[in-house]
Symmetry: C2
């Protein structure tokens, strides 16, 4: 694909906060944005030139969307395979490639992919029935974690198996197809945000150290406490993933860091990521601009970090503190324009930046 | 006015690049934006939730706009007085106050206002007819500059008077009402971007040093070469202007710096300003976010600069270099989404940032 000239239209599947921040970044580069979402009055639609509101299986709407845009990307990984196929059949460039989307949608395929590229994962086994689970617990041991293969995020679709005696109840609750994963007694959790351009240029942001609460990212600190060898290993793993897919766009891998510094891959997201929101003010090129550059066929921008970072998510009622946060000079406040602050919903985030020499 | 809660709608008069960048900043704080413009397919409309396209004297459209939004601001100073009045009659909060808009629209009123607040200006005189001009040239001397009182920007509406013999031709060309201003043999041009909140909190960005070409801003460097006393004087002058108006929002004053460091006020803009575009990546709070904070009744954000800055405008065909600029890691590229790159039109800008310790 020729690099898209400014004034071209970038299509985004999904209307949430990631789409909103991608749309802002695209507009700073002179692009128009067209959103495709099944949600009315979505956060991304309100900052974009045009929006199609239709189900993701509405072939006619997808074809019209494909005709209206010059490239299509996504803000969520669970794009139905049939949706991606309909868009490609309509002649659209879809980035990242549907293969990367498909692998990231299935926890078993994802871990198998990591293993195939030489990246360590927790021991894991596919679970189709109760007998599979019993056998897997014997092999992998307990405690371990039973997860659905598909549609898990923010800690949903998983259950801890503390002993073989829990197996039946766990299987009854989650059903099949599933994956059993060994429990990792990790020291900390980190993520790497990386990007690859259509010309094969690769860029990495500094490793993010993440804390989760109730399965949802709560806080990211950069730089992480990981040692130099761990940083090098994370970049090497990320590069292998990007190249194995011939990936175009921003991609995120979450790792456990073990007490000896070894990295165990937990999951990946073929998109911009919550743990990279600090790059808006904390890096010369935000992850959102970086993703737009990549999918537009542009060269990547510099990922230089401008200071030390602490990013905190505003979950549910946290966002009701907007007035105090707006008055706090150490807090760069971001709110996503969601109408309704349900429990567990990501409403915004706050970035605190300590500049060099401060 | 109570501080606007996230989810409120901010109305912006004008659909150009300043509106586009204001809209992006508003969306990062969780606001919706509604644009009022007389231009179809405007840069700001394409990143905003809703747009009214109508003439600025369409009372019905203005009233509907006023009902739809929670506060109204502007991205250009030449808002017709009747437009501002119609909006206020419809019960809208218009920020900044129409008095500041009116003063900035008229070069004679503007210079008279500076003088009334104790801020030095070039010698000036109102010109209603040829006799006024002859008398003013006798008093002020030549070279001097004849300007229209209204609707001048980017060097338009002005003509140099090199000697009394030029007076008749100059008056024939520009007509009345005009203003004659003494020519200032300045050493450099600077601007100060400042802001005032509805609670009277005041903030300043570091002084910008500006170079113009053909009357249009070409390049801004921060920090400027102005000495400490000049910096202090610029802030003091800005504070007097903000307080004289009871101003709410971002305001810009352009000064000449004389060889002895003295400041002579050239003009002001009751809005965000091209010489402040570097604040997007160069300051903790951009001028756009700052303006949105102020008009929303929020406290101001920190103006801390993150490094040394050089901002270059992309005028007309300059923007055709987008591909080279996108590949230059030292250049943070901003394009405004204008369909048509006429000569002299501001198409985008590039910010180069040297971080501390680089």
């Amino acid at each position: 694909m020729k690099p898209l000239a400014p004034g071209s239209t970038i299509g985004i599947l999904g209307g949430g906060q990631l789409g909103r921040m991608l749309s802002n970044a695209a507009s700073e580069l002179g692009f128009d944005v067209c959103i495709f979402t099944d949600e009315h009055d979505s956060p991304a639609a309100r900052v974009s030139a045009r929006t199609f509101v239709a189900p993701f299986d509405d072939r006619g709407a997808l074809e019209e969307f494909a005709r209206h845009v010059h490239v299509i990307t996504t803000e969520f990984e669970n794009v139905p395979a049939a949706t991606a196929k309909a868009l490609m059949d309509a002649g659209a460039h879809v980035r990242p490639h549907h293969h990367a989307l498909a692998v990231a949608q299935d926890r078993f395929d994802e871990k198998s992919f990591f293993a195939s590229t030489g990246i360590a994962t927790p021991a894991f086994a596919a679970i189709a029935n109760q007998a599979d689970l019993d056998a897997a617990i014997t092999e992998i041991g307990a405690p371990s974690i039973l997860k659905t293969r598909r549609f898990g995020y923010d800690g949903r679709g998983q259950i801890r198996v503390m002993s073989p005696a829990d197996a039946e109840a766990a299987f009854d609750k989650l059903g099949a197809p599933g994956i059993l994963e060994a429990f990792c007694p990790f020291e900390r959790e980190v993520s790497i945000i990386c990007a690859r351009s259509q010309d094969g240029q690769v860029a990495f942001y500094d490793l993010c150290e993440n804390e989760h609460k109730n399965g949802i990212l709560s806080r990211t600190v950069v730089p992480s406490r990981a040692n130099a060898a761990t940083n090098v290993a994370a970049r090497a793993a990320a590069q292998r993933v990007l190249e194995a897919f011939g990936y175009i766009g921003v991609l995120t891998i979450e790792f456990f860091v073990m007490p000896d510094g070894a990295l165990i891959a937990n999951e990946m997201a073929p998109r911009v990521h919550n743990s990279g929101h600090w790059t808006i003010e904390g890096a010369l090129t935000s992850q959102f601009e970086q993703h737009i550059r990549a999918v537009a066929g542009w060269p990547l921008g510099p990922t230089t970090r401008v200071g030390d970072i602490e990013m905190s998510n505003l979950i549910g009622a946290d966002a009701e503190e907007w007035s105090e946060l707006a008055a706090d000079p150490s807090a760069r406040l971001h709110l996503y324009g969601k109408r309704d602050s349900r429990d567990g919903r990501k409403m915004g985030h706050v970035t605190r930046l300590r500049l060099r020499e401060d």
